[in-house]
């Protein structure tokens, strides 16, 4: 459908283009937007209205998904800022960071042989959560000062951390499957 492409997701949600977002306002505005456009509001409307409402509500949700998630939000901000991102060809040259990633992965492997793997996973998760907080702060600082290339590097690290978190998640799911 034709959506207002001039409008970016931040504007749609009435938020400034800023990494630190007012989460309460975001949730509130998401609800306001959905209250106006959700298909439930058109159950007695024409078929066209119903169809468009689904598309509009989907678009609002798409924006919500991106704004809500710090990693997606960071990537989106870089795009709004004019950077073309190509996920397949991006690497990080930061060796210290890479070393840490390898350590974390090893720790994760050790989890598999430890007596309480669930707790072990939680431990790594906490560590990673701490890391992502630091990276988020870095990203914000770089972005605000217009150091887009640095911001992009940090966003890359944020993505790495998220990927490991997802792997831990996956592993926990396996553990659950084993028990169930």
């Amino acid at each position: 459908m034709q959506v207002d492409l001039q409008q970016n997701y931040f504007e749609l949600f009435g938020l400034p283009v800023d990494f630190q977002i007012d989460e309460d306002l975001m949730h509130d505005n998401h609800q306001k937007l959905q209250s106006a456009f959700h298909p439930d509001r058109f159950v007695n409307g024409t078929d066209q209205e119903k169809r468009l409402a689904v598309q509009k509500a989907a678009w609002i949700n798409e924006a919500y998904e991106i704004l809500k998630d710090p990693v997606k939000r960071a990537r989106y901000m870089l795009e709004v800022g004019g950077l073309h991102l190509n996920d397949d060809h991006e690497t990080t040259g930061d060796t210290a960071f890479l070393m840490e990633q390898i350590e974390l992965r090893e720790e994760m492997d050790q989890c598999r042989s430890c007596s309480d793997p669930m707790r072990c996973c939680d431990h790594i998760t906490n560590k990673l959560d701490q890391r992502s907080k630091e990276y988020s702060a870095d990203f914000e600082a770089f972005y605000q000062q217009g150091y887009m290339e640095d911001a992009r590097q940090v966003s890359k690290k944020m993505q790495f951390v998220q990927r490991i978190l997802e792997q831990i998640d996956e592993y926990q799911l396996e553990l659950e499957d084993d028990i169930n």
């Binding site: 207002d4 949600f13 949730h27 609800q31 078929d47 209205e49 998640d169 169930n180």
Partner: protein, 623 residues
């Protein structure tokens, strides 16, 4: 609030007409219907005062019996008395073997359909038709009570239901002649029943342990908006497993090994009785009098608790998982709502309370809470609540994926993504002049396509022929508010839309439904055609009214003269045709008007986005 329809504050466009709506809990074991009348929501009883309708349908030589009367015939005539068909909704013939002897029916695969039929003395029926009978009975009950026709219903489904199961439920409603406002997830319905009752904002967990399934959902409640944050569970875990655990204990006590299925059934019935007794008593007496086994045992609550400890633990693992998906901690949960018959078990209440660190809410009848929530939502959707402050935002329960090389699945939309949702993907052709391609869509979390649920094969045709790799085909997967998926495709450089043929893996085709509809109605073909024409006329008038009202509001602001004239011309064309056209001609004229106003409607929507956030309240927005 309609998109095109505008009513100024204080000005009514039409004399207010009350729309009657009902909420239906279409359960595995029992079903219910509830309505809202004079501010009160109530489940409706039959003429004997029974609120629960056993989800059982008996096919006699000519008649079809539903509910208690059917249930009574089950022992005598098991093969013609169908129960628990919810378990086979949206399932294929090969899935049925996994249900084992739980459903003792005579299943038939048919050559020209993907939906298994059950052989009864009257005819071969699908689970969809059986469910339609249950829905008809409940809708009839509501209409009798209201003394009027229902304008629409909300039907509940388990949150974990996949696309095929949801589609089957929708098809059943269509066969029953019901207008479905919405398929609502059972836990969301329960949250509505509690939320509105308690009027408390916060994050709540809905723990639903039924006969054969376990569902856990986390919702955020904020000023009448119920936002599902994550949902999960286990579709083969429930009260039946507790019965089996007791059954095994009995056999162990009696030193029994292999037994026949009749004795097993007796043991399970006794087990279930004991289990339910233990809800109130600290011990239960088990008596079995069978030629192979005569026992009199006492089962202590403590022993029972040990027997089911693992099962309860499994449910808590799912709770942990869903919290993680919602990115929340246990202590963020302000309330835990208990739903489903098996949450009456004291150990369940105790362990769930321990896990979340708060006392679970059990004050609403777990059998009725889902129907009550559905009725509340149905009433809002019917438009009876002008302030319309309640809104339910759900998520996709299982990831949507497509099949890629080597039988692997590639995630397109992850589970727990808020719906409606749309995602696009770009493909290209790999042969010169290629004009068709196929996409296999599955649902599930596993890596191998064979471990996921197959939903449908989509065949795209009509791609403009180009050299290999030149075509850019954008395929859009969309999931609506019911959790139902659709696919569209377009070649981007030419803007040509591909024709799509859907081959549902486990669903009825449109033709099959049409045939069933015709079979199920005693009317002649002419009657059905007349009804379809009447429906198109209503839709045509609705569209014209909507366009008129929009144009008078802002037509000249948002459209240039040409655009305006074009819409008016299509509108006049449609109006002229209403009384003298066939159904097909009308459909086309409506489509034409829709096409010419598409851009206008989109502009209006974009305009209104601004107003929504500019502090005005929603009722004031001219959408």
């Amino acid at each position: 609030m309609a998109l095109l329809q505008i009513s100024e504050p204080g000005q009514t466009t039409a004399p207010h007409q009350r729309n009657y709506a009902a909420g239906i809990d279409l359960g595995t074991t029992n079903s219910l219907v509830a309505i809202k009348r004079s501010g009160q929501v109530e489940t409706l009883p039959d003429e004997h005062g029974n609120h629960l309708l056993p989800s059982v349908v008996h096919y006699a030589e000519e008649d079809i019996l539903v509910g208690h009367t059917a249930h009574e015939l089950q022992a005598a005539d098991p093969l013609n008395t169908l129960s628990s068909v919810k378990r086979i909704m949206g399932r294929g013939i090969e899935d049925l073997s996994s249900l084992g002897n739980a459903l003792p029916f005579d299943f038939k695969a048919s050559a020209d359909s993907h939906v298994p039929r059950i052989k009864t003395r009257q005819k071969h029926v699908s689970a969809i038709e059986v469910s339609a009978e249950i829905l008809k009975t409940l809708a009839h009950r509501a209409e009798q009570t209201l003394g009027d026709e229902l304008s629409g219903v909300v039907i509940t489904v388990p949150a974990y239901f996949d696309d095929a199961q949801r589609q089957a439920t929708r098809d059943a409603a269509r066969l029953a002649g019901l207008n479905v406002y919405r398929l609502l997830n059972e836990p969301t319905a329960a949250a509505v029943a509690y939320g509105l009752d308690q009027n408390s904002d916060g994050v709540i967990a809905i723990y639903d342990l039924g006969g054969g399934t376990f569902d856990i959902s986390i919702l955020r409640l904020n000023k009448g908006v119920f936002e599902v944050l994550a949902t999960g569970g286990n579709s083969s875990l429930g009260g039946d497993d507790m019965d089996h655990a007791i059954g095994e204990w009995i056999m162990q006590q009696a030193g029994l090994g292999d037994i026949d299925s009749i004795l097993l059934r007796q043991i399970l019935i006794a087990s279930r009785k004991a289990k339910e007794e233990l809800t109130h008593d600290s011990q239960a007496h088990i008596e079995i009098d069978h030629e192979q086994l005569k026992v009199s045992l006492i089962l202590e609550r403590a022993t029972f608790d040990e027997l089911i400890a693992d099962l309860v633990k499994k449910t808590l693992m799912s709770c942990r998982r869903v919290l993680r998906d919602a990115k929340l901690d246990k202590k963020d949960i302000t309330n835990v709502v208990m739903v489903g018959g098996s949450t009456r078990v004291p150990l369940v209440i105790e362990k769930v309370g321990e896990f979340f660190g708060c006392k679970p809410l059990t004050d609403l009848d777990p059998d009725r809470v889902v129907a009550i929530g559905a009725a509340l939502q149905a009433d809002v959707l019917a438009g009876n609540k002008p302030e319309q402050d309640m809104l339910l935002l759900d998520v996709l329960p299982l990831s949507l994926c497509i099949e890629t090389m080597g039988g692997l699945s590639e995630k397109i939309i992850a589970r727990n993504t808020p719906i409606p949702v749309a995602r696009a993907q770009e493909f290209t052709t790999f042969k010169d002049g290629q004009t068709a391609m196929a996409i296999h869509v599955v649902q599930g979390e596993r890596e191998l396509v064979s471990d996921c649920r197959s939903l449908a094969h989509f065949e795209l045709r009509g791609i403009p022929p180009m050299t290999a790799g030149a075509a850019r085909i954008k395929v859009t997967y969309q999931v609506d508010a019911d959790g139902l998926m659709s696919v569209t495709a377009e070649e981007e450089s030419s803007g040509v839309k591909a024709d799509i043929t859907i081959k549902p893996s486990y669903g009825l085709t449109d033709n099959e439904i049409e045939t069933m509809l015709r079979d199920s109605m005693s009317h002649a073909k002419e009657d059905i055609d007349a009804r379809m024409l009447a429906e198109q006329k209503v839709e045509a008038k609705r569209v014209i009214e909507a366009v008129d009202s929009a144009l008078s509001q802002d037509g000249h602001d948002l459209l240039n003269e040409d655009e305006y004239a074009q819409i008016v011309s299509a509108r006049n064309q449609l109006e002229e045709m209403i009384e003298k056209s066939t159904t097909e001609e009308l459909k086309k004229a409506i489509k034409d008007l829709e096409n010419s106003s598409e851009e206008y409607v989109a502009r209006r929507m974009n305009e209104s986005v601004q107003k929504v956030l500019s502090g005005k309240n929603i009722d004031q927005v001219d959408v």
